[in-house]
């Protein structure tokens, strides 16, 4: 495997972890509104008993892991490649929000995410 490909895989892992970190923070912030209950039901895991603070701590821990993975990815990739690829977390968050939080992600929201994604590619050029 070439260093670039390794870097891309590590970066995708970082983006995935960051997207989950955001979901965990969201559940922590809205536990009283059934966030944990909904996540547990949709993800098929028995995590409904975790406290709001527990979800926040889980989110922070995921962020620490994400920083480590992103730093590792930068070891293999140029920032001009890593920066726009990192914005894939907007896509990851939209997918996970729909899947696990039951949020309505319609065509217009997807269009917005798409514009941001292409925009970050241009900013990095």
């Amino acid at each position: 495997m070439t260093p670039e490909l390794t870097g891309i895989f590590v970066l995708i892992a970082a983006v995935t972890v960051e997207s989950f970190a955001q979901v965990f923070l969201k559940i922590g912030a809205s536990s009283g509104a059934g966030g944990a209950w909904r996540f547990s039901r949709r993800a098929g895991v028995g995590a409904a008993g975790l406290s709001a603070r527990g979800w926040v701590v889980l989110g922070i821990a995921a962020y620490v892991l994400e920083v480590a993975l992103y730093t590792a990815a930068l070891h293999f990739l140029d920032l001009s490649v890593a920066f726009p690829l990192g914005s894939l977390c907007f896509v990851g968050v939209a997918i996970l929000s729909k899947l696990f939080l039951g949020e309505t992600v319609g065509r217009i929201r997807w269009l917005g995410v798409g514009c941001i994604l292409v925009g970050t590619v241009f900013v990095a050029l």
Binding site: Q22, A29, A33, R53, V93, E103, G106, G112, V123
Partner: protein, 177 residues
């Protein structure tokens, strides 16, 4: 973000003046949520604060990292970063950002709020070019425009999904539960 208020008000009031008694038609692609609530002021302030804090974090982090020589070992780099007051400014901003972000997420959908943080790409680019006198190329200008258009599209979508299937909402402070 002022436009969000206007748009949502338009949705809830509809074209009542023109078509009395009839529901207002919505543009294609925008779901009809009936009495769409206005975007709360707390969410607007929270999103603005999130972009400001994100910008402070990125700039202070960059200045702290720049104080370390490029060829420094990991130990020297760590000591160098820890000796920089900008590192502590970044940490302080991180704490404030977490507090602010949880308040935003308690009120708005994650898939609505999170894309707004892309605006910090623009503020960082703008401030870097001003301070470092860097020329912003036309390509970067196109990128900035696309990010703005993307955030604009998202601001036109409902900020919160109603969940009729879930437990009744309760007020919970995640920092003190």
């Amino acid at each position: 973000m002022k436009s969000v208020d206007t748009k949502l008000t338009e949705h809830s009031s509809g074209l009542a003046g023109k078509q009395a008694g009839k529901p207002a038609p919505l543009p294609a692609g925008i779901p009809n949520h009936g009495d769409e609530p206005r975007l709360p002021g707390a969410v607007i302030v929270g999103l603005i604060l999130a972009v400001v804090l994100d910008t402070i974090i990125q700039l202070t982090w960059k200045v702290a990292a720049a104080s370390v020589p490029r060829d420094a070992s990991l130990a020297i780099a760590t000591v160098g970063v820890l000796a920089s007051p900008f590192f502590y400014a970044a940490m302080l901003a991180f704490g404030a950002q977490l507090w602010n972000w949880l308040r935003v997420l308690a009120r708005a959908d994650l898939s609505f709020a999170q894309p707004f943080t892309a605006l910090s790409y623009i503020t960082v680019l703008g401030l870097s070019s001003r301070w470092l006198h860097e020329h912003v190329s036309p390509t970067k200008g196109v990128g900035v425009s696309l990010i703005l258009v993307g955030v604009f599209f998202i601001s036109r979508t409902p900020f919160r999904t109603d969940h009729p299937d879930g437990p009744e909402p309760q007020a919970v402070d995640p920092m003190h539960s």
